[in-house]
Every structure is written in structure tokens, then in C-alpha cells.
């Protein structure tokens, strides 16, 4: 395993960089889109709610592989998208549907009293949402957003199918060239865990902390 790692270290490291980069870009994009579609789902316009629902349902119910393929093979006819870009776009849209659900649940979990307090105090709907509800909704949603992010990192392995240069793609190529599949996959597995495990433990820690606080509150 050490041999395989050292002889392909450059390749694995570059791949790790691509996986991290794609994940970060997709995280930011999907947070923005997800919040937008979460808000559209609670505004008093039926049309907006309908559009948001369709968006969320479509991207939640189609495999990421197919979404990514679509951008790689079809989207690129509109503007040129290489595998990395097409994969990251697909990843962002797919994840944003889940984040929209998470943020919406966070908004719903904010005590209705917060909204009533703000409205009774004279704040408008959008002021209440922006200044009072959303910040608290994000806070509530942190554990679940964290899990979405972990999923996103894992799902970035889909870039392998469109030659996105990521860890999984590199593992496949190294495995094919060296016939040492076993060790190639173990090595990239460890690379993935370097990102996901600390995150996952941090989420557990936050979860435990908020639970502890909730206890004292009541």
C-alpha cells in the first residue's frame, strides 16, 4: 500500500485537491440555491411555491449520476463544461434540493413565537425572515447541514464518471494501470475519511452540545 501511495503520490494529491475544490464550490452554491428554494417554499405566492416544489422534487428524485451525465453531455452544448465543471454543477443542484428541505425544516422549527414577536414589534415579513428567522433556522439546521455536506463530499465521487479528476477517478485509473484495486481503493478511502470523519465527529459534538443546552433550558 505504501508503495502504491508513494509511486502515485502526486496523482492522489492532485485528485484530493479536485475533490476538496469541487466540494467547497458545490457547498457554497448549494447553500445559496438551497436557501433560495427554501424561502420560495414559504412565501405567500402559490406560483413561487409550486416552482420551488418542482425544483426540489426533480433534483431529489433523479440519481446524481444521471444529472451529472446530463450536464457533461448536453449542458456542454450550451456552454462548454469540462467533467469537473459539469460534475460540480450537477453536485450543486442535486445537493441544493436537499439543503432546501433542510433549511425549510429549520425555518419551521424556529419557534413561531419568534415570528409573532417580530411581527407584533412592527417588522415586515421579509425583515422578520431575514433578521430573526433565518439566522436561527441555520443554527437549528447545522447538524443536518453538516450531514448534507458530508454527503456532498462522498457524492463528489460521481465526478469519476465524467473524468472529473477527483479521488475516485484517480483510484479507478491507478487500479486499472497497476491491477492493484484493493490498495488503490483503500488509499482513496483514507483520503475521503480525512475530510469526512472530522466533520462527522464535529457534527456529533455540536449535536451533543445543543442537546445539553436544551436540557438546561427546560
Amino acid at each position: 500500500m505504501i508503495n502504491l501511495l508513494t509511486s502515485n503520490f502526486g496523482a492522489f494529491l492532485t485528485a484530493f485537491g479536485y475533490t476538496v475544490l469541487s466540494s467547497i464550490i458545490a457547498l457554497i452554491a448549494s447553500l445559496i440555491l438551497g436557501t433560495l428554494f427554501a424561502i420560495l417554499q414559504i412565501v405567500p405566492s402559490r406560483i413561487a411555491r409550486g416552482i420551488a416544489r418542482i425544483y426540489v422534487e426533480v433534483f431529489r428524485n433523479i440519481p446524481l449520476l444521471i444529472i451529472v451525465m446530463f450536464f457533461y453531455l448536453v449542458g456542454t452544448r450550451v456552454i462548454a463544461l469540462d467533467g469537473f465543471t459539469a460534475g460540480t454543477i450537477g453536485l450543486s443542484l442535486y445537493t441544493s434540493a436537499f439543503i432546501a428541505e433542510t433549511v425549510r425544516a429549520g425555518i419551521n422549527a424556529v419557534d413561531i413565537g419568534q415570528t409573532e414577536g417580530a411581527r407584533a414589534n412592527g417588522l415586515s415579513f421579509s425583515q422578520t425572515l431575514r433578521i430573526i428567522v433565518l439566522p436561527q433556522a441555520y443554527k437549528i439546521a447545522i447538524p443536518s447541514l453538516g450531514n448534507q455536506f458530508i454527503n456532498l463530499v462522498k457524492n463528489s465521487s460521481i465526478l469519476a464518471f465524467v473524468a472529473g479528476g477527483d479521488l475516485m477517478y484517480t483510484a479507478n485509473n491507478v487500479a486499472a494501470a497497476t491491477f492493484d484495486s484493493f490498495n488503490s481503493y483503500i488509499i482513496v478511502g483514507i483520503f475521503y475519511l480525512i475530510i469526512t470523519l472530522p466533520l462527522s465527529y464535529y457534527m456529533k459534538y455540536l449535536e451533543a452540545k445543543t442537546k445539553g443546552l436544551a436540557k438546561e433550558d427546560s
Partner: protein, 251 residues
């Protein structure tokens, strides 16, 4: 509607309110003048919260007219935020903004709704916090306060909008018994401010007796009694009210 008599603050005229098929307010008629302090009592589920929330537009009504400070709330042309700016509300569970400091809780609405200059806003907010005895907590987050402190901040927050009327929905019933006194004392001070109209839902009968000009008793969505405070406590006219007062004072 704007030609209402100048000294009427809140007026219900044949107001009907439904939650789905549930009839929560039944032909409610009620007039509260400017500067009055009115206590609203009644058993659980009788519609006290519904009535008070309707005044602030938090619950829409289905029939009748509800005029607040000269504006008909039931009229779709009325901008409800205009009314809310001048009618404050204090909730049972305080509803402080959990994500803002005490001072920010008080300063937020004057800043973004009334566009008060920052300096003036802060000065007034600190004055109010001083008035409720919490100037030293200005920088704290709500989660660090006791229930009684939270409620006093909530009162300061309402006062910051310089309201014409204040609505209180069981302001002390979520508090530890030790904390209740302080909050009631502050409410009494505010109510005694002759300009301000106060409508208070409470189960604290001794307090009601001390502070109210009038007592209104509700049951099953109806106003059963509307009397001068002393008259009410000496001898409620309806049997239901008598029974209620007995039960609450009993233990």
C-alpha cells in the same frame, strides 16, 4: 372609519372568528378607551388569547369590524404594520429574539421600522432597560436571562416603539413564583401611565384588582361580563364568573 370618536382606542363590533370550523370568538362587542387599563380573564380555551391577538392582526377575523387606533383591521386596504407599530404586545413566552442581545432586541424595530438615528435609539433603549432594572444586562443574550428578566426585556422592547396601546397575554404565567412580583410591578407602572391603553390577560387576581379600571370575563368565545373592577370582584353577575373566581382564588 377614521371618524371614530377620538378617545376610542380599540373597538370590536360584532366580531366573529373561526379556526376552521371552530367558532373561537362569538359576536364580540367591546370598546376600550385611550388610557384605560382593562384586565381580561376567563377559563382556559375561552378565547382570551384569540381576542388579544386579533387586535394586533396576528389572527385574522372573519366577520365584523375591529377598529384599532382608527384603522379597521378587517379592511384589506389597511396596512397592518401601521397598526402594529403603535400597538405593542407582550407574550406569555416572551418571544425575545434568541439571536440578538438584550440591547439589540430593544433597538431592532425602532431602527429598521421607524428609522430612528442610532444614537438616539440606543440612548432610549438604555433608558428603557434601566426602567425595567436591566441596564447591566444590555450585552447579554436572552438565553442567559431568567424568565422574569426575559419578560422585562420584552416589555422594554414593546415600549421602544412608543406604543399607544400595550397588549399582555398572561405575562407572568410562565414565570417562577419568585419572579412574578417584579414583572407585575413594572406592568403596573406602565399601566398607570395615563396615556397608554393596556389590555392584560392574567390569572393574578390580586394584581388585577390593584391595576384594572375594568374587568372583562370571557367563556366559550363570548364576553360574559364587562364591569368596573370593584363591582366584578364584589359580586360577579354571572354564575360562571363567580365559579371561576372561586376556583382560581381557592388554593
Amino acid at each position: 372609519m377614521a371618524e371614530e370618536k377620538k378617545d376610542i382606542m380599540i373597538q370590536f363590533q360584532d366580531v366573529e372568528k373561526y379556526y376552521g370550523s371552530f367558532h373561537a370568538l362569538k359576536k364580540v362587542n367591546l370598546t376600550i378607551d385611550r388610557g384605560e387599563t382593562v384586565v381580561l380573564i376567563g377559563p382556559s380555551g375561552s378565547g382570551k388569547s384569540t381576542l388579544i391577538r386579533a387586535i394586533n392582526g396576528l389572527e385574522p377575523i372573519q366577520e365584523g369590524h375591529l377598529t384599532v387606533n382608527g384603522f379597521d383591521i378587517h379592511d384589506p386596504k389597511t396596512d397592518i404594520n401601521k397598526i402594529r407599530k403603535r400597538v405593542g404586545m407582550v407574550f406569555q413566552h416572551f418571544n425575545l429574539y434568541n439571536n440578538k442581545s438584550v440591547l439589540e432586541n430593544v433597538m431592532l424595530a425602532p431602527r429598521i421600522v421607524n428609522h430612528i438615528p442610532e444614537e438616539e435609539n440606543e440612548k432610549y433603549a438604555l433608558d428603557l432597560l434601566d426602567r425595567v432594572g436591566l441596564k447591566d444586562k444590555a450585552g447579554s443574550m436572552p438565553s442567559m436571562l431568567s424568565g422574569g428578566q426575559k419578560q422585562r426585556v420584552a416589555i422594554a422592547r414593546s415600549l421602544a416603539m412608543k406604543p399607544l396601546a400595550l397588549l399582555f397575554d398572561e405575562p407572568t404565567s410562565a414565570l417562577d413564583p419568585e419572579m412574578i412580583g417584579d414583572v407585575l410591578r413594572i406592568i403596573q407602572e406602565i399601566a398607570n401611565d395615563s396615556d397608554l391603553t393596556s389590555l392584560i390577560v392574567t390569572h393574578e387576581m390580586n394584581f388585577a384588582r390593584k391595576v384594572a379600571n375594568r374587568v372583562i370575563f370571557m367563556a366559550d368565545g363570548q364576553i360574559l361580563e364587562d364591569s368596573k373592577t370593584e363591582d366584578f370582584f364584589n359580586k360577579p353577575t354571572s354564575e360562571r364568573a363567580q365559579q371561576f373566581v372561586d376556583q382560581v382564588l381557592d388554593h
